[in-house]
Symmetry: D2
Subunit: 276 residues, 4 copies
């Protein structure tokens, strides 16, 4: 047997009289004192937020909760239709689609901005904000050359501006989080709009990516914020599905249409199928 690495956690422990979470006494310091968003901040940073951090962080999470009828909420509703006794499984099914396509752009824009200031040759000078337009143009150029999408820009519906971005950046001004990452993201949007000859507004994921950088949260944490916030929204969708279902109707329509071309092939019979 190889040598053992000790198992270690700093998150939580308990005694008969008390429970500790990230160094705080749950019952005396947290319950009734901090809100759910502050508790989430504690979970991802290991410390409680200051009031401005609390306001900014809660606004970010609130933005991410609800996106209406999208593939992940439909996956949750489909799962609930088959296993209504296990609501947690429906929420989990919904989370599983939060991959590279829909939620990845928050993480992507956070990483893009963090790397821009961390790049050794741009270094402290760039960090001082000396030449954001040049930095932004370099980012746009690199993405165009590599035929990559610039994360956090553009929206099919919210144009010419995404109203969430406007509001989040206003809160950032009020709370002191409107710094160089937000400025760089705005410069990137401007450079991209010029380069592509059409408005490329900062969407909500781009705004949140920049604000995560301002708050010192890693790109991995930014992905985690999307996951936890969507879990809240998915519970809402599962509860609506229980009250007013759409999964079974959608299934029947999809099956009827998608198999119409095949029916009648066997024995000349044509009728919709529902396998139990």
């Amino acid at each position: 047997m190889s040598q053992r690495t000790p198992l270690h956690t700093d998150i939580a422990w308990s005694t008969p009289e008390a429970i500790g979470v990230h160094g705080h006494d749950l019952c005396n310091d947290l319950l009734g004192e901090v809100n759910f968003g502050d508790m989430a901040f504690l979970e991802v940073t290991g410390r409680l937020p200051t009031p401005p951090q609390s306001r900014m962080f809660n606004a970010i999470l609130v933005t991410l909760v609800e996106h209406g009828i999208v593939p992940s909420t439909l996956a949750a509703r489909m799962t609930y239709a088959g296993a209504p006794e296990a609501m947690q499984a429906a929420v989990a099914a919904g989370l599983l689609g939060l991959g590279s396509v829909f939620v990845g752009s928050t993480e992507g824009s956070a990483r893009m901005l963090a790397q821009a200031f961390a790049a050794p040759d741009d270094g402290p000078a760039a960090a001082a904000g000396a030449d954001l337009p040049a930095l932004a143009e370099a980012i746009v150029r690199t993405h165009r050359t590599q035929k990559k999408i610039i994360p956090g820009l553009g929206h099919p519906i919210h144009k010419p501006v995404d109203p969430r971005t406007v509001r989040l950046f206003a809160i950032a001004e009020q709370t002191g989080f409107h710094g160089r990452y937000v400025a760089l993201m705005q410069a990137v949007a401007q450079a991209a709009s010029a380069a592509f000859g059409k408005p490329m507004p900062i969407n909500a994921t781009g705004a949140i990516g920049a604000l995560c950088c301002e708050m010192g949260l890693s790109s991995q944490v930014s992905h985690g914020l999307g996951v936890m916030a969507r879990a809240v929204g998915l519970v809402g969708h599962v509860l609506e599905e229980a009250r007013r279902p759409m999964a079974v109707e959608l299934w029947h329509r999809a099956e009827d249409e998608a198999t119409a071309h095949m029916r009648g092939r066997l024995h000349g019979q044509a009728s919709p199928s529902r396998e139990p």
Copy 2:
């Protein structure tokens, strides 16, 4: 620290030169010698099947693989649309809906039949098959009184008979698994048809529940067979979704229709939404 219970598994182990699975040498005894269904039999029973067991068991698994466009395959497709980089997550999302509504009836009919012969007061006499019609009538009466659905009977499409049941029971005759559980299930179907005044054919899940009893497989195992077989089918659907997608189209249609009544409420604007 409380006293330790030793950790123990009998499933698999390995040495540099060999791998053992349920007591068999993987490389010399299993690879190239047994098929995937036999391996599944080994996993759930701990022993390899006899040829008749192999034929019956493989037929059961093959029946359970594919059910076309159903909620679980749609959940998998929706998940793939959001996270195409993680095929395993799409398959997992599909499995999560295999709960009480769609797959539970295999487990339910297996349990119903096993309990009928296990009931102490019916005991060995009943087990001898003395009076199956009476036993079946008691089952139907109990379910009607408790307003419970009799698991494994009826089908919205396959009537007056489910062709899978016919074929599975024919294979059962050929392989020696057409015994008292199958006979009781048939008696239950007859009693139910008389009681409800309409054909109540044994559907595929009822047939498989009875055949699992014949093979000595528990109702929990019967649920496990559904789960593993559907995993195979879900891979097929994810691969088709990759080639010819339907998830995004279905999402757009669902969102447009489901939110039509709300658009225009804010600022008098009406247009479909797609939140990234």
Copy 3:
């Protein structure tokens, strides 16, 4: 094709300039105005909380976030070890274990209390709180007769009292949610302690079940609160696993111990195995 049922949601919609969530303007009414817990309240009830509701509800969610190293956090950590590129899958894996064993008791105690006051023959009189001790004794008696565990009572560590319950009920007094359901839960604890001859304190899940009833939240919603709160905690554990892993060490230890009895069976070789 059968007649179509219209698809319908009341949760969210959007226009180019605005996004609506449960009837509220996301950007103007919610962002920066409500915290993450209030947003969760909106998701599960369709309305924003009053200040007392907000304080009570946030305290409930904060209680449910973190439970340290438990099976669900270990499942998440094991999953992260295999698929670090898909954090959402690790969180989902953790949620899947929130079933009948660990989280079900919140839902169970909420249902028990709701049914006590809803029972037709106890009816309005009982609802008026006429005889809580008698109602509590009936509940304890029924559970003992049916050999069922009374949900929400007892704790292996937190005895003679669960400090979370003390604090949650104090907040309930301050916010006006210390009503008949809390009183009945307390009476049940007293009756159970007398019946079993040992302290049976109300644990956190029992307290939260009672408080959900006080706030008019269904037992299904109470389960949903556990799911969303644990999603937050699971993100915290996945982030710690990324910084300071324990999954691989735990795997190696478990495998070595659990397979020790089998090694050497094949070819006389003994060594631990790690299959990639």
Copy 4:
């Protein structure tokens, strides 16, 4: 509303008397005629295997079923401990860890080999097998330069050879699938062993990657084979967990050790915790 794309599937359909799967009559052509592995072949390729394809394909699946106590089986067991009523969720949790770390190497080696022969500048000449050693050396050099692991080589236990590879390649000879991809994989192993100065045997995932190429299966399909085969193995582990559990013991040990350093911080009490 944008123009509709028709929904379409070619997988399955049914009539009252028959069910079609990938163009075959399920009851007459498949049940009792093909084994579970052949059905899996039909799902991923759309056609039934020839006898040699059937033997090779079943051997590949059988290899992938069981890997003993590993992170994914532990995640499944942890999940079952919390939600024993939902076996499908435990299997799903186990699948979620089949990401880049443990199962990805099958897909990786399949992609590496496919690209080697598809590269335009190596083109038909290379495809003719003209100079496999040179092709192999180029692959090893590229991976070393980019500091990437060569997928499918090396094993912590099975050395100097992986017995599964030996057996799979022997079956490949018997069934006619020992072609240029297997030869290239062997050349890569040889070149890597020379370059690194130590034995770098082809492990099972490397062998399967090569054999998938020989069978004309894409790298995405090769990942799917791992997912479906592990689903079978995970059912076996969940059933063993139900008979002889290890999850709760492992949890208690992990929690006790990992939190030992924190206990006593609050109120000077020290005792292990178990939050329900």
